[in-house]
Structure formats: C-alpha cells, structure tokens
C-alpha cells in the first residue's frame, strides 16, 4: 500500500518533467487479498499488489497518454515525456477544452484498517465456518472472499492535488447439494468486520435446501419478485446502455432526446449518489473532480446523465465527477447508483403474489437491443414458484428476455429495505422489486 507522500512525490515528478501545455498524472493502486473456494476446498488464494501511473499530456489540443507500472521518479518522468511525444504525433482534438481545475471535495470514511489488515488466516477461518455449516446439511460451498485496498492520487498542472485510500470487502458464496440444488448470497462493506457471514450462510443454505426437485414452468409472462441482486444486475445494464455522458452525446443512449420525459414507471427513482453514507464513494473521480450526486431517473422521468470534463464541455455543462481512469475510453460512468425503496417487506411482497416466480439473481446478462434496453440472461441459484402468497417449490432456471425499462414500468411493489450490491467496481444500493408481466422462457437444456 503506497503512502500519500510517496504518491505525491511520484505524481509531482511527472508534472515537473512535462513540457506539455497541460499535464495530468494519476496513480491507481490496488492491493487485493482473495480467498476463493469450491467443493468446500480453498483452491485459489492470493495476494496481489499492482500500481499504475498514467500521464495525460496535452499540447495544442493534441492528447497523448502513457502509463507505467514502475514506481520511481525517473520512470514517471519518462512516461510524461512519452505522453507528450505521443500527443505531438496525433491530430488536435478541437473538442478538448481543458483539464479540470482545483476544487474542494467532501471527505467520507472510505478506509478501514480492519479490511486492510485482514489476514489469509482470518479469511480461511471465515471459509472454514461456511464449509462446516454447509457440511452439517450435507452441502458443499463455492465462493470468494475479497479484501481490497485501493489508492487513487490525481495531480494536474492546473492545481488539482487529490488523494484517497479506500477499502472494500466482499464475500459471495454458492451452496450446492448433490442434486445440483443451489443457493447464493453476497455481502459487501468497506469494513470487513461488518460482513455478516452468519446471515449470508443461513440464506444461501436455506435456498439450497429449498431448491431440490424443481418444477419446470412453461415459457410466458410471469409476476416476478426480484431480489436486490437481480434488480442490481438490471440497473447495471441500464447504466451501461445509457447513463454515461459519452453514449448520451453520441445518441447511442436510450436517454438521448428523452430528458424530461416519462421513460419508466413512477415508482422508479435512480440517483447516482457517491455521497450516500452506506455507499461512501471515493470523493473524486480519476480527473480529481469531486463526485456529485446526479438524479438519473426521478419518478420514472429521465433527469440526467453523468459527465467527465470532456463530455461536460461538449454538452455545455459542468463535470459531475464521473471520469474513469485515463486508459479507459468508455467515457463517464456512474459507479454508485441508488434506487429508491418502497414501503414493503420482502415477505409482504411474496404474500401479495397469487402466482409468480421468485428470482435470486441472473447469470450472463447481455444486450439484445440497447436502445430499447432489451437484455437476456438466465436465473440462477434460487428460483422458486410462489402460489397463493407462499413459496411452494423450486423452479428450474429460466431465461429472461426483457426490456429493463418496461420491467421497471411494471413494478408494483418495492421493498423498504435496500441492500448493497457490488458488481465489478460498481456498488449499488437497491431494493427488491415485484414486477408484473416479466418474460421468462423455459430453458432448452
């Protein structure tokens, strides 16, 4: 884990060596400690420390980026010279206005020593407990326990000088029986001590035990109850398809031309909310711009998208602080989305369902038609039939082919309780959702 002082020293070396009109130096470090298990055995167990420094140099609107993993001042200076050399070889980008200037940001508690110091032995103890609890029910488990320490430092020639260190802990586990019956759970926190291993174990075991003898349902439209993870997977794809300023500007987003219009159901409010205390997002983006709260959808009405400095300039607005790392060309992206909850408990939602399908989460979600927010994927690790307000049996996995906005339009109930759901480097705070007329097909396998 690199210190603030060492980070500043390296970043400053890049600025000092640059003869560009404007220069930005970004350090991104990650220390990952991960224990992976399957068949109730630890089969992959690792520590990895990786740090990269990216230099972006601008000369007469020509932009070059060079990156190095060598953490010494000479290597960073060499990267700065290389970035400028690259910039001098390519045409000017007339749409580029400027790197962002210095701005204050609000500090949130993002770092927990408990996570940073969690040892391989401690992770093994957690896995051991999980294995033992499963064995008591003649079940086996597979999963991953990860603890991250992430460092981001940004300095630029306009005075930006930002540094943050954060931690993340994530435990996910699948519990499996002899007949292929399975249940799954996931827990996330910046503080590894806040991971509720007991609750996760209980939920995953309960689902695995209930998943025996699944019935096969016909293809058709069903009322479904989506657990928070399933809602989060749909929300993540919705964001891919339209909440970023680049796709919006290029008219490749379903949000393009729709701001102010009703695009989905009135129960749906989605906010990019890095300042939410439960999420505690990193306080600035990879350009050093403070991350802002951005309403994306309010009561079903399209409200806005997120920006980095480049696309904010094109759109004539201010950056919302959602730049990705300099070597990522995807454009700005919301990494801390929340969806407003409702008034109900999950139990009440099941009780209010005459006939429906209860879905734990999805697998291999992929686009079918991004402009129409159409995706496909299959259910996994805990799919159940609801009859007369009760879960009555397990259901064989099914394929959904569904417009996400249409599904959200058909949402009739949302849970009051929301859960943190991590996926890739995104963390979402999402409720469970009851949806009518959800397309499910019987699998052909």
């Amino acid at each position: 884990m690199i210190s603030r002082e060492d980070t500043r020293r390296l970043l400053q070396a890049g600025l000092d060596a640059s003869k560009a009109d404007q220069t930005e130096v970004v350090l991104i470090g990650e220390d990952l400690s991960l224990t992976r298990f399957a068949e109730s055995q630890i089969h992959q167990n690792l520590y990895r420390s990786d740090t990269m420094i990216h230099v972006r140099a601008i000369k007469e609107k020509r932009i070059g980026i060079a990156s190095t993993g060598r953490l010494n001042t000479e290597a960073v200076a060499a990267a700065a010279r290389e970035a400028l050399a690259i910039a001098e070889l390519v045409p000017a980008d007339e749409d580029f206005a400027s790197l962002p200037g210095k701005a204050d940001f609000r500090e949130l508690k993002t770092f927990y020593q408990s996570t940073a110091e969690f040892s391989p032995t401690q992770r093994a103890e957690v896995v051991g407990k999980l294995v033992k609890a499963c064995a008591e029910h003649k079940l086996k488990t597979a999963g991953a326990y990860r603890n991250y320490v992430e460092t981001v430092g940004v300095m630029n020639s306009l005075g930006v000088d930002s540094f943050n260190q954060s931690t993340r802990a994530e435990l996910s586990a699948t519990v499996v029986g002899d007949s292929g019956n399975s249940g799954w759970g996931i827990a996330y926190s910046r503080d590894t001590n806040a991971i509720d291993v007991g609750e996760l174990t209980e939920v995953a075991i309960d689902k695995a035990l209930r998943s025996v003898n699944p019935v096969k349902l016909e293809s058709g439209q069903y009322t479904v109850i989506l657990e928070p993870a399933a809602v989060g997977q749909l929300l993540l794809f919705l964001a891919f398809m339209g909440f970023g300023g680049k796709t919006f500007y290029q008219h490749r987003s379903f949000m393009a031309g729709k701001i102010g219009e009703q695009i989905t159901g009135e129960k749906i409010t989605i906010v990019e909310d890095p300042l939410n205390p439960e999420i505690a997002g990193t306080p600035f983006d990879y350009e050093g711009v403070p991350r802002q709260q951005v309403p994306l959808v309010e009561r079903g009405v399209a409200k806005g998208v997120v920006y980095n400095s480049y696309y904010a300039n094109l759109a004539g607005v201010k950056s919302t602080g959602h730049a990705l790392p300099p070597d990522n060309s995807y454009g700005p992206y919301p990494k801390h989305m929340t969806m407003a909850g409702g008034e109900h408990t999950l139990k009440e939602m099941v009780a209010a369902t005459e006939r429906g399908v209860y879905i734990t989460h999805f697998w291999y979600v992929n686009f079918l038609n991004p402009m129409q927010t159409m995706v496909t994927g299959t259910t996994r690790d805990g799919t159940f039939l609801i009859e007369n307000g009760e879960i009555t049996s397990a259901v064989e996995n099914m394929r959904m082919s569904q417009s996400i906005l249409e599904a959200f339009s058909n949402a009739t109930m949302l849970s009051k309780q929301r859960k943190l759901y991590p996926q890739y480097s995104v963390v979402m705070l999402v409720p469970a959702m009851k949806v009518d007329n959800f397309n499910l097909e019987a699998l052909e396998g």
Partner: protein, 481 residues
C-alpha cells in the same frame, strides 16, 4: 527486468523447495499500445507498460500465490514468504490434498515469428491508417457513427519452477477492426463491424493487419448498416441456419470451449462462471456433435491469438483432440485438473498477466474444415436464414441453453439469399444443437478468429483465445423470439 529476476530466481526457488512440494516463479513485462478513432476523431493513443512477478507454491497439498508489480530482490523474498503463509491458510481448511500431473524439466525459449514490429512504426503512420479507414466509411452517405482501432501487445515472460524448468517467451499480438452505423430516431441503432464485432486478433507482426482485408470490406459493411433500417424483422420458428465463420467461432467458444474447461467441470467456477454438463463420466461416450465435427486444442497452431510455446505452468504447447467424429474425447486442462482424470495437461493453464493465478482457459480451438463452400452449402437450403457477425450471446451457467445473435441476416429461399433481416437471433441446447450440424465449411473459407476478451475467474481474468471455423450449417434450429 527479466534478466534481473533470473539472477535471483535460483536462490528463491531453492529456498522454497525446502518448504513446499512445488513452487514456480513467473515474471512478465507487458507492453501495450492502442490507437483508436471515434467518428473521425482520434482518441488519445494509449501506451502502457506493466511488469511484475508472481510466486506460486503448493504446500501441504494446497495453493498459495503472491504477486507484486514492484520488482526487487527484497520483494521476491517477501512474495515467497507470503505465498507460503497463504498456502498454509488454504491447507487449514482443505480436507483433500491436491496433486499435479507429471512435468518434465525443460529449458527453452519461444518467440512469436513476425516480420514487422508494430511498436517500431510511428504512431502517426498508424493513426493515418485509421483515419483512412474512417474516410472510407464516410464515403457511404448516411453513416452517422464509426469507430476504428489498432491494438498491439508484446509479452515477455520468464518461468522457472522447482522441477528445474526454465522458460523464456516473447509473444507478439496484433488486432484491428472497424465498425459503423446509424441511429434512427431515438429507438433504433444499426451497426456493422469488420472483421467481427471485437475486431480480428492474431499473433504476429504489423504485416498481419493487411491480411484482415479491412479496406476491401468497408464499403460493403457501411452499405449494409444503412440497409438494416429497412430490413425485415427476424422470423420466428424452426428452420435451417447457416452461421458466418465469425459467428461459428463464437458458437464454438461459448458452447464447446467453455464447457470443456476441466476446472469448470470440477466446480472451480461454481460461484461465478458456472459449471459444465460435460462431466468426465461422458468422456469417450457423449455424442457431443454430429459425426462431421472434429475439433482439437492447439496452442502451437501457427498465428492464433492463443499461440505460445509453453503455458503458464511450463507445459509445452501441443495438439489435443477434444471432439472426434462428434464424440467427446478430451478436455482443456491444467496439471492439477488433468491429474484428476489421469490425463496429461493440455497446456491450457493461462494467467492474465503476472498478477493472476493460471486458470484453465481456451487455447486455439481448431474445428477441422469440411467439404462444402458457402455457395454449395446455401444451394441445398430451401428455406432458412444466414446470419453474419456477432451482436449478442448468453448461455446458462451449465453451458447448455444458449441464445446468440448476429449483426445481420438474410433469408434463404430456394438455395439463394433473399431479403435482409435485422437483429437475427437463434437459440438451442448445446448437445442437441451440435448434433444438428450437417455441413462444415471448406478450408478455403476457414479463418482462425482471435477473441481478445474472454472473461472468467474471480478476480476477473481476461484471456485471449482463438477459434478456427468456416461456415456451419444446422438444421431445425429455433430462430427468433
């Protein structure tokens, strides 16, 4: 960096040999360069260097792994001790001790053969090539968005293990592609890509880019992108389907390659990438596909994106049959997984860079060419659909039920291509589907497609794989919704 590591590796491995059953050390220097354009604007070119070392140990029958980008003698020792500590933690939970298949000690070097070093060419020369492709795209009036890219990677690896193996490799990889499209209103977007949606990737030098024939195909794909707005909706029903070679490659990747990864078969990916129906009890028995399907893994096959001398466990690249006359006869495997079925490793243990544990990954999967060229294949179809390009793919976590789609399709009537079809999709169940294959395309139309973005594992590892295929024809396939 590698020379520096080699100086210290002997003493570290000697140190580890006294404390565990097996250990290996892997050092990598990865240089990358990516140039791209979006709608005639040059995106900032990116050049990157990543270096690091990894130590992997097997202690008391359990694995430990530690890696760092900060290469020094002190860190090498630190990673060695950490890997031992991690392995001990693994062993505290594990009731079973794992074993590895045999590995002879080898000292060798391997380098990708190439003529023109892509890193030696100026950026402006490469950027001009991309802007030239952009100009060609916009010769077709009506195109409103476009993108192009060139991607180069040089990977230098050093591997040394306690069994005495010492291996040096230098791999050179090149990729390129274009796409273009138009947006209609705020509801529809039509795109076509070439050579395929993610571009084409191979091992070799810059001379390979010209072999992709991008310039020759731009006008065609641009006019097809425009024509898609008036194309018919995809029909629904059972019919004969012909897949273009790039879509056939994706079909092989998803429904043959992944199911035959032996770690997945044994449940290693149960919590993430899933399992496989192709369990060892089916080996030698399962009629996976029709009798015309012959497929093998070959990381030594010239020019493939997954062509190398040795895998990341030091196993020599070699040809391993997977499907013979349609029957399941082999797996993609590592030393650990191969040992469990009494086979030799297929040299498929591959790590995404220095900082990851080797997993069983696809290599070059070669579907042996058949007898028919596309025109002959087409002439035998009274009614059906021809699908080209790749646009969507999804398959269940046991690798059986799949749904794939192309960028464009054409109806087939009376042995000829008819009207254009937008967003064509088809679905099926793996074994049933491959048994419906009644024609495998000819050698003259066969292409080894590179896939630069195959995801697997936690943390996510990106593998570069390849699948070789020509056109494929299947009967009685479910098409559309």
């Amino acid at each position: 960096m590698i020379d520096k590591i080699e100086k210290h590796s002997e003493s570290i491995l000697t140190y580890l040999a006294g404390k565990c059953e097996y250990a290996d050390l892997r050092a990598e220097e990865i240089s990358s360069e990516r140039l791209s354009t979006s709608s005639r604007t040059t995106n900032p070119p990116e050049k990157s260097d990543s270096t690091g070392i990894a130590i992997r140990v097997l202690r008391n029958g359990s694995w430990g792994f530690a890696a760092t980008s900060q290469v020094s003698e002190k860190n090498l020792k630190r990673m060695a001790d950490l890997a031992l500590e991690i392995a001990a933690a693994s062993a505290s939970v594990n009731s079973e001790k794992l074993e590895l298949s045999e590995l002879p000690a080898v000292t060798d070097e391997y380098s990708t053969p190439f003529e023109q070093d892509p890193f030696a060419l100026s950026l402006s020369e490469k950027n001009d090539l991309l802007l030239g492709w952009e100009d060609l795209i916009y010769k077709t009036e009506g195109i409103s968005s476009s993108s192009t890219f060139l991607d180069f990677r040089r990977i230098q690896k050093y591997f040394q293990a306690t069994n005495g193996s010492k291996l040096r490799q230098t791999l050179m990889q090149c990729g390129a592609g274009v796409s273009c499209g138009m947006v209609m209103g705020h509801r529809e977007r039509y795109e076509r890509s070439f050579p395929t949606a993610s571009g084409q990737f191979v091992t070799g030098g810059f001379e390979q880019i010209a072999t992709f024939k991008i310039e020759e195909n731009i006008e065609r794909i641009a006019s097809e992108a425009l024509a898609l707005k008036d194309a018919q909706e995809c029909p629904s029903g059972e019919m004969t389907v012909i897949l273009s070679p790039d879509l056939a490659s994706l079909q092989i990747h998803e429904s043959i390659g992944h199911p035959l990864e032996l770690d997945r078969v044994f449940g290693s990916e149960r919590n993430f990438s899933g399992t496989s129906f192709a369990t060892p009890d089916k080996l030698g028995k399962l009629q996976y596909g029709s009798e015309i399907i012959n497929l093998f893994s070959d990381p030594a096959f010239p020019g493939g994106l997954a062509t190398y001398g040795y895998d990341d466990e030091g196993v020599k690249a070699d040809r391993v049959p997977l499907l013979q006359k349609g029957v399941l006869v082999g797996y993609l495997s590592s030393r650990e997984t191969a040992q469990r079925v009494g086979m030799a490793s297929s040299a498929a243990a591959r790590a995404d860079g220095w900082g990851n544990v080797p997993l069983v990954r696809m290599t070059n999967l070669i579907l042996e060419p058949g007898e028919q060229k596309f025109a002959d294949m087409l002439s035998e179809v009274d009614e059906g659909i021809y699908i080209e390009g790749t646009s969507t793919w999804s398959i269940d976590d046991n690798r059986e039920d799949f749904n794939l789609g192309g960028e464009v399709g054409w109806e087939i009537k009376g042995g000829k291509l008819g009207a254009m079809i937008k967003s064509p999709t088809y679905s099926g169940s793996t074994v049933d589907f491959w048994n419906k294959c009644d024609s495998v395309g000819h050698r003259d139309e066969w292409v080894l497609w590179g896939t630069p973005n195959c995801g697997k594992g936690e943390p996510g590892q990106n593998a570069r794989t390849a699948q070789g295929a020509a056109y494929l024809r299947f009967r009685n396939v479910k098409v559309g919704a």
